[in-house]
Amino acid sequence: MINIVIHQTALTNASFKESIDLALVCAAFDQKVNLIFVDNGVYNLMTKQNYQSIGDKNHLDILKGLEFYDIENIYVEEESLENRKISKNKLIESCKILSINEIKRLHEKSNQVVSL
């Protein structure tokens, strides 16, 4: 089991894209992948994003398609949402909210934690 933690938005740098690439490859190699969104990374899960207006690729489509690649565990940190006043109904449906402590326990259980 591998935890991949995403801290930044897709607009900040290539970390989001390259974390997703790593997640896809690990899933293809039959590893159980947990994608965990924390800090500003939680913005990536918001449904109302308009990448077209700035001529960028639509990163939300990548997240929506993850379950077809056997990545079903998408987690988002409760405290990061609260700090940013983001409510659950603004996020994609497939993500589950976990508290900081629950995420800590998930890290303890997993074999590897990667945070790019």
């Binding site: 293809a28 590893q31 590897q112 990667v114």
Partner: protein
């Protein structure tokens, strides 16, 4: 249980001293006869393999330091192929495919897929150390 070290380097060679730290760390692993299964360059770290980088003469030459490490340790240096192409680090094959005049991937580095990192991580004894 003996650790199988997987070294992941993602730091930019221009903006961070992580490459120097990684080399020192690796040298001490090798001296202690620890097993290093994989050295993988990802994200901005791949730029260190670009032979066109010319750092000022009074600054450390990271590429030279990595080459020296690879030569003495005989551990392979793998750079992520997708991250490298995205940042303009290409090998001879890609240069000829794209009709670009020259390749710039240094010797002692080889382009590798993320699958190689993932395979190294799936070893139950894998211990990931990340320089970012």
């Amino acid at each position: 249980m003996k650790n199988n070290f997987v070294i992941l380097i993602t730091a930019s060679p221009q903006n961070s001293q992580s490459h120097l730290t990684a080399i020192r760390y690796l040298n001490s692993l090798i001296n202690r006869k620890e097993s290093v299964s994989c050295i993988f360059f990802y994200q901005d770290a791949v730029a260190v393999a670009n032979i066109f980088n010319q750092p000022p003469s009074d600054e450390p030459e990271l590429l030279k330091a990595w080459r020296k490490f690879a030569k003495t340790s005989k551990v392979e240096l793998m750079t992520c192929v997708a991250a490298s192409f995205r940042r303009g680090v290409i090998d001879k094959e890609e240069a000829s495919n794209r009709e670009i005049n020259s390749a710039n991937l240094s010797e002692h580095f080889s382009l590798a897929g993320l699958g190689q990192l993932s395979a190294a991580l799936s070893n139950p004894n894998a211990k990931l150390v990340h320089f970012k």
